[in-house]
Amino acid sequence: MSETVDLSIFSMMMCGVLLLIPVLLVHYLKLGINRNLLISTVRMVLQLVLIGFFLEYLFKLNNGFINFGWFLVMIFVAVYSVINNSGLKYQHFILPVFLSLFIANLFVVIFFNTFIARLNFIFDARYMIAIGGMVLGNSLRSNVIGLGDFYKALNKEEQLYLYKLSLGASQFEAMLPFAKKSFTSALNPTIATMATMGIVSLPGMMTGQILGGSVPLVAIKYQIAIMVAILASTVLSIAMSILFTIRYSFKKSGVLRKSIFK
């Protein structure tokens, strides 16, 4: 198989031409999101250029401590994003969400690198950062849904929750139906993606590997392994996020603290 064809300056300029389609359409439809669209595009380009240089340096150095340190930075950014997008306040959630994302993702990445990829150096930058990023990115999305839905539902249906407490339910028993529902909503996108994978979508990792010169059958094996890793880290991190945050979100009387919401 041939190596990936590098994209020239001309190719990147053609990308800009392609970008004109959504920009003009959004402008024509007066959706009012042109500014955001352009800012996001500029941010994406700048971030990716910077990260491109940074990763090139990181991969060349391939130092276990530095790789682990970068993995921690990725987790911190994910924690910020999960809390911010769930409509919750940082001070109550930063520690429990960090712990859940850290434990779940580190466990899955180390398991993947040790027993699936069977690496001699489990903190290898190519695996730690790339696999870690994919696993973390997916658990981030699921945690935004899971954690956000859980607290929003408890707040919206507080009367029902309190009613259960009045019937003799413990705090855990009363919130369990809410936790189960949020857990399911958070997992559904991953399960749906898995069910249609290869037919509806050719996943990014597989596409990347094929463009990078891998045989499709090798790319498929990796894709199966990564999807299972994503599922495992998603399930683990949501369960831990809900469990770890409960302590900070309820009063001793079992009543939800309103101060947790932004």
Partner: protein, 209 residues
């Protein structure tokens, strides 16, 4: 022995005082009608006694002990509360009862629960086939009776009843309220705008104004 002693309770929401220096005592066997216009704080009394709200000032004593966030669980396991809110959950009616009986604190009630549910269904003019129906499909009156039965199977003797018959016809309202008001073993605090022709002449009135 007093069950509840409420001493100089004050509760406000935002800028509005709902209760101000409010006091009363509940003795075993009391039947107390809490009355007053809408929004005056009748339901807030139940919420305070169940620990869903904390008073801004004053104290609540239950069974001789100050009510705190830690020990309010004891009250919740001695009181049966029927809320005016008809959102009692989703799913089959039988599963709704099962969930209540499944709670660790209620497990001892499981043995003869089925017979008791059947008895109460018949007492409150409901057919047993309602057990297989979905809560979402029930009428307001049916939901109210299901919530009342759910409170009764807890086998408790203190009841907080918040507008529990608002969706029922007059005859059924009388029947259900008299069931509670004429039972000497029950302590009942209730909110209702209706007047019942109960044989119990010892009903106290707690008027909020």
């Amino acid at each position: 022995m007093e069950l509840f002693r409420i001493e100089n309770i004050t509760k406000q929401f935002s800028e509005k005082f709902v209760l101000q220096n409010f006091s009363f005592v509940v003795l075993p066997g009391d039947k107390i009608n809490i009355s007053g216009y809408s929004g005056i704080g009748k339901t807030t009394i139940f919420r305070l006694l169940l620990g869903f709200e904390r008073p801004d000032a004053g104290k609540i004593i239950f069974d001789g002990e100050d009510l705190t966030d830690e020990n309010v669980w004891v009250v919740r396991r001695k009181v049966a509360y029927v809320s005016q809110d008809l959102n009692i959950g989703k799913g089959r009616v039988s599963d709704f009862f099962q969930e209540t009986l499944h709670y660790k604190a209620n497990q001892h009630l499981r043995t003869d629960a089925k017979n008791r549910i059947t008895e109460y269904l018949s007492l409150f003019n409901l057919q047993t086939d309602i057990l297989t129906r979905q809560i979402e499909e029930l009428s307001g009156g049916e939901k109210q009776r299901i919530a009342i039965i759910n409170a009764l199977i807890l086998d408790r003797s203190i009841f907080f009843l918040d507008e529990i018959t608002s969706a029922l016809d007059p005859a059924l309202k009388e029947k259900i309220m008299n069931f509670f008001l004429e039972n000497k073993n029950f302590t009942v605090l209730y909110i209702s705008h209706d007047i019942y022709s109960s044989k119990n002449t010892k009903i106290k009135t707690l008027k909020l104004c």
